[in-house]
């Protein structure tokens, strides 16, 4: 019985079947990896580049970055402050979710793009204070609509920069490469 199966698999047709099965598995795995690297669907296709083009500073909408750990997503009252004066808001299909949300009082559900795992205690303020610009980590927002991560925020990314910034300053290097600086 099993022998028959093996014999069948040895035929050209069987080999093709094996090949297809293998390819299917491989592509599923490849798709899986691809899938996790995709920016998830956002409620609004927020065009960062348009806003940046208007000259709006990052910190205008994400003021938390200068003050504390989280940059934050702006309250919708902030969006609405400008948008309710823009005629297009009333008509544009792309802006409909914003309009509906504000008028119905149900918050939009954004999907955070730039995230670190929960065992990392990241503080925006210290990075801004150290003279880092937003785009050093988040990429050039004048080129994207929905925010995308230019890189994965993993420990190597953090450490590379920390080491570079510390340079020859030993005290600084100790502080910036201390496990307890980010993990507690």
């Amino acid at each position: 019985m099993i022998k028959k199966l093996f014999d069948w698999l040895r035929q050209p047709l069987g080999l093709i079947a094996v090949g297809i099965a293998f390819l299917a598995l491989f592509s599923l795995a490849a798709y899986g990896i691809h899938y996790t690297q995709q920016a998830p669907a956002q409620p609004v296709q927020f065009p960062h580049k348009t806003h940046v083009a208007f000259g709006i500073q990052c910190l205008y909408c994400h003021p938390g970055a200068a003050r504390g750990p989280a940059a934050g997503i702006p309250a919708e009252s902030k969006c609405w402050g400008c948008h309710n004066q823009i005629a297009k808001t009333q008509t544009s299909a792309l802006l409909a979710p914003l309009k509906d949300s504000v008028l119905s009082g149900t918050p939009l559900q954004w999907v955070p793009v730039a995230q670190v795992p929960d065992f990392v205690q990241f503080n925006h303020r210290a990075h801004i204070a150290a003279g880092q610009n937003c785009e050093n980590c988040h990429g050039d927002m004048s080129k994207v609509t929905v925010a995308e991560n230019p890189q994965i925020f993993n420990m190597g990314f953090c450490l590379n920069c920390h080491k570079k910034v510390a340079g020859d300053d030993h005290v600084k290097l100790v502080k910036l490469t201390d496990c307890g600086t980010c993990h507690y």
Binding site: F119, V174, G180, Y184
Partner: protein
């Protein structure tokens, strides 16, 4: 380059830590406020009756008391809050194969890096103070209890060791605040959750390397403090006063 001298042994009298604690056992009433405060601050899980009775409670701080003598001449020994002593030369550190428990050179604390821990539990065996707790299970915290979690502290899952951190999140917050205001952290500006709650002010926390800090002053004024199991060369940073 690999620096293997991470757990360099620093013996001798010249050792001064950075953060330290002074605990006045004469004042401690054993009221458990520190234990509760610690649990609330650090997202410590409760384990239920069965596990807690089997030595699996997750308390980062426990209050020990023993008995002296026989009834009616019996006395309760001074309550002794035990938490991680943040040793200068900790025995837990060299034995971790993954560097999950390491010495923070920056803060002079014993760190437990949860996300690096693989759960060999060697550190806990080797801790002479027995102050490490292991996450034996994923203990259930039904909704909405999780709303109370402190976002500054990682929520630990099963298979990970944990222990008192001297509220390192508060240290960082205070340092961050001081830095943003262009100054040094002031003594007494912040304190650990246990010290903050303690109604008897039995716990004092601060910089031991600053002779003017309250902890240093207390240590000097009492003059007869005890560091537990100092003879092992662990260089603990918590000083106890038996008082009385």
């Amino acid at each position: 380059m690999i620096d293997l001298k991470v757990t360099e042994i620093k013996m001798g009298e010249e050792h001064v830590g950075k953060w330290g604690m002074v605990i006045d056992q004469d004042m401690c009433t054993g009221c458990q406020a520190c234990v509760a405060a610690c649990a609330m601050e650090n997202n410590i899980t409760f384990v239920g009756e069965k596990d807690s009775g089997y030595g699996r409670s997750m308390h980062w701080i426990r209050i020990e008391r023993f008995w002296q003598g026989e009834y009616p001449e019996i006395k309760m020994t001074p309550n002794q809050p035990m938490m991680c002593q943040q040793c200068g030369s900790a025995t837990c550190e060299p034995v971790c194969p993954a560097f999950a428990t390491v010495h923070s050179q920056a803060e002079q604390l014993n760190l437990q890096v949860y996300n690096r821990c693989v759960g060999t539990r060697y550190c806990a065996n080797n801790c002479p103070y027995q102050v490490r707790s292991f996450n034996w299970r994923d203990y259930k915290r039904p909704e909405p209890l999780a709303n109370q979690f402190n976002p500054d502290v990682t929520v630990r899952r099963r298979g990970v060791m944990e222990k008192c951190t001297f509220c390192i999140q508060r240290i960082h917050k205070a340092e961050d605040k001081a830095k943003s205001e262009g100054r040094e952290v002031v003594d007494g500006e912040f304190t650990t959750a246990c010290a903050q709650a303690c109604p008897a002010t039995a716990i004092t926390f601060g910089r031991v390397d600053d002779p003017e800090s309250l902890v240093s002053q207390l240590a000097r004024r009492h003059g007869h403090g005890v560091k537990h199991l100092e003879e092992l060369g662990t260089l603990p940073n918590v000083t106890y006063f038996k008082g009385g």
